[in-house]
Amino acid sequence: MDWILLAELSTNGVFVGLMYALVSLGIVLIYKTSGTANLAQGAIAMTGGYVTWALATLVGVPIWLAIPAALVIMFGFGLLMERIALRRMIGQPVIMTIMLTLGVEIMLRGILPGVFGAAVKRLDIGMPQQPLFVGELLLNRATMIGGSISLLLILLSLFFFNSRFGVVMRAVADDQTASWSVGIRVERAIAVAWGLAAVSATAAGVLWGSTQGVDWSLSLLLIKALAIAILGGLDSIPGVLIAGVIVGVAESLATGVLDPLVGGGSRDVVAAVIILVTLLLKPHGLFGRHHIERV
C-alpha cells in the first residue's frame, strides 16, 4: 500500500469534496425551507459561471468586481425563479416539482450556451497553478484555495442561520403553517432561500469554471451535490460540510484503490452507491431529522 499516495488523495479529496458541498448547500437550503428538491442546482451553477464570464469578458468588468456582481445578479435570478415558477407548484405532487426543476435545468442548458456560444469559455480568477510540495506530498493549490473558500461560505451560511432572518427561515423550515400564523412571511423566506441557493451555486460555478472552463458540463455537478446532500441529510447544513468531505475522500480513494481493480472510472458510481446505501440504511442521512414516513 502506498501510504503517501493515499494521504495525498485524501487531502485532495477533502478540498474537492468541499467544493462539491458548495453546490449541495443550495439544495439543502431549499429543501430545508420549502421541502422541494431542486434538481436544477447544477444548471444554476452553470448559469452563474456563464454570467461571471459574460461580465468579465463581454462587459469587461474586472474579475474582482465581476464575481460579486454575478452573485448579486444570481440572487435576483433565484428570487425570480421562485416567484415565477416554483411558487405556483405549492400543493402539487412531488414529481411535479422534481420535473419542473428538471425542465428548468434543460432550458438553462439551452439558453446559456445558445446565447453565449457552446465552446468552452476561459474563466481566469487568478488561481495559482504551480504545484506545492510538502516533503513527498503534493498539495494542489487551486483545489486547496477553492475548498477553503467553499468552507468559508458554508460556515458563513451557518452563521447566517443565527441572524434574525436566519431564525425566520428556521421557523419556516420547522413548520410553515405555524410560522404563517405568527406573522412570518413564508413566501419571502422561501424566496430568499432560492436566492441564497443561487448565490452558492454561482460561487461553485465560478470555482469549478476556473478549473474546467465554463460550458454546459458544469451542470453535471448535480449528481455529486445530490449524493452529498442525501448523505448529510437533506435538511442539515453541517451535514453538507461533513458529507462533502466524506464523499470527496471516498471518491478520491476509490479512484486510487478501486479503479485498478474494476478497470474503469469508478468515481461517478461511488456517488450513486453512496446515495443508495444512505437511503437504504439511514434514509434521513447522517444529520437529517427523522421525519421520513416509513411505509
Partner: protein, 357 residues
C-alpha cells in the same frame, strides 16, 4: 357536435361498462388504427421510419412508465436503465441464436427482475427520496453495462443486432419492423386500457392515493408496490428489446443513459400522468417539437436568408424542450390529455356551452 348525444344514453350495463361507450370515439379509434395499419403504404418512408416508428416505440415505453408513475404514484428516474437491461438481455440472447419472440420475453423478464430491485427501494422510502434512489440506480446500471465488456461487447462497445425474424417474417426494411412496433404498442395500450378495470389496477390507484390507507383497506402495499415495479419494468424491457431490434439495430451503453429516462418522464408529464391517451400526445410533442422547430428554422434560414448564429439556432430546440416541460407543469399539470378532454367536452355539448356533460 360529432358525438350526437341526447337523453338517456345507456340502456344496458354492458353499454355503460364499455371501454369506449360513445360511438364516435369507437369510430375515431378505428379510423386511427386503420391509418396506422395502412401507414407504410400511405406515407413516405421518411414519415414511417422517421416519425411513426419512434413514436410508437417511445409511446410504448412511456405507457409502461405511466403505469408506475401515473397509476401507482411511485417515482422512477431510472426507466432508461430498465429499458437498457431489456435491450441488452434480448440482443445477447438473439446473438446466441434464441428466437426473437422468446428473447423479447426473456429481456422483459430480466428487466422485471432487476427493475423489482429498484422497487425494493420504494418499500423503504417515497417522494424525492425514491426519486434519488432510482436516479442512483440508473447510474449503477449504466456503470455495470459499460464496464463489463461481456455485456457491452468488446473494445468498440457496440452490439450489432443480427438479422432476426418475428413469427417467421424476417425483420428487414421498414415495413415489418414498423408492424412489430405497432403490434407491441397495440398490446401494451390494450393492457393499459384494461388494467384500471382489474383489481390490480384498483389496488394501484389506492396505493397512489395513500399507501397506508390502502394497507388498512387490506391491499398489501408490499405486494402491489413490487408488482407495479415488476409490470412496468417488464414492459420497459420488452420495449427496450423492440427499440434495439427495430430501431437502433446496434446498441451501445450511451443509448440508455439518464437522458432517455428524463425524456420518457417528460413525455408522460407533458402527455398527462395517469392517462392512456396522454403518452401518445406527449411522445409526439417531446420527440417531434425539436425536429419540427429545427426544420422550420432551417427552412426560414434558407428561404429568407435570415441567419441566426448557429449556436443559438441549434440550442433553440433544447430551450423549447425545457419550456414545454415548464409550461405544461405551470399551466396544465394534467397535460395534453387534459387539453384533449377539454376539447372533447366542448364538442360533446356543443352548442350548449354551459350544459353539464
Amino acid at each position: 357536435m360529432f358525438y350526437r348525444r341526447a337523453g338517456i344514453r345507456h340502456t344496458r350495463y354492458q353499454d355503460e361498462r364499455q371501454l369506449f361507450p360513445l360511438g364516435f370515439d369507437r369510430g375515431l379509434i378505428i379510423a386511427v388504427l386503420a391509418i396506422l395499419l395502412a401507414a407504410p403504404f400511405l406515407f413516405d418512408r421518411l414519415y414511417v421510419s422517421g416519425y411513426l416508428l419512434p413514436w410508437l416505440i417511445w409511446t410504448s415505453a412511456a405507457l409502461g412508465l405511466n403505469l408506475l408513475m401515473g397509476w401507482s404514484g411511485q417515482i422512477h428516474l431510472g426507466y432508461g436503465a430498465v429499458m437498457g437491461i431489456g435491450a441488452y438481455g434480448s440482443v445477447h440472447l438473439v446473438r446466441l441464436g434464441v428466437p426473437l419472440e422468446i428473447a423479447m420475453i426473456a429481456g422483459g423478464l430480466l428487466s422485471a427482475t432487476i427493475g423489482t430491485m429498484f422497487g425494493g427501494a420504494a418499500l423503504r422510502m417515497k417522494g424525492i427520496y425514491l426519486a434519488m434512489a432510482t436516479l442512483a440506480m440508473q447510474y449503477v446500471v449504466d456503470f455495470v453495462i459499460s464496464h463489463s465488456t461481456v455485456i457491452s461487447g468488446g473494445s468498440l462497445a457496440t452490439l450489432q443486432v443480427p438479422p432476426v425474424s418475428f413469427l417467421g417474417i424476417p425483420l428487414q426494411g421498414e415495413v415489418p419492423t414498423y408492424y412489430l412496433a405497432l403490434g407491441v404498442c397495440f398490446v401494451i395500450t390494450l393492457f393499459m386500457l384494461n388494467v384500471r378495470r382489474t383489481s390490480f389496477g384498483r389496488a394501484l390507484a389506492a396505493l397512489r392515493e395513500k399507501d397506508y390507507a390502502a394497507q388498512i383497506l387490506g391491499i398489501s402495499t408490499f405486494r402491489y408496490k413490487l408488482l407495479a415495479f415488476w409490470v412496468s419494468s417488464f414492459i420497459g424491457g420488452v420495449v427496450g428489446s423492440v427499440l434495439a431490434v427495430t430501431y437502433l439495430r446496434a446498441i451501445s451503453p450511451d443509448q440508455f443513459h439518464i437522458e432517455l429516462s428524463i425524456q420518457i418522464l417528460a413525455m408522460i408529464i407533458v402527455g398527462g400522468l395517469g392517462s392512456v391517451l396522454g403518452p401518445f400526445f406527449g411522445t409526439a410533442l417531446i420527440l417531434f417539437a425539436p425536429i419540427l422547430l429545427n426544420n422550420l428554422l432551417g427552412f426560414t434560414a434558407g428561404k429568407f436568408g435570415w441567419s441566426l448564429p448557429i449556436d443559438l439556432r441549434a440550442h433553440l430546440p433544447l430551450m423549447a424542450y425545457g419550456a414545454l416541460v415548464i409550461g405544461f407543469l405551470l399551466y396544465e399539470p394534467l397535460g395534453l390529455a387534459k387539453i384533449y378532454a377539454n376539447f372533447r367536452n366542448y364538442l360533446l355539448v356543443w352548442p350548449f356551452r354551459h350544459a353539464q356533460r
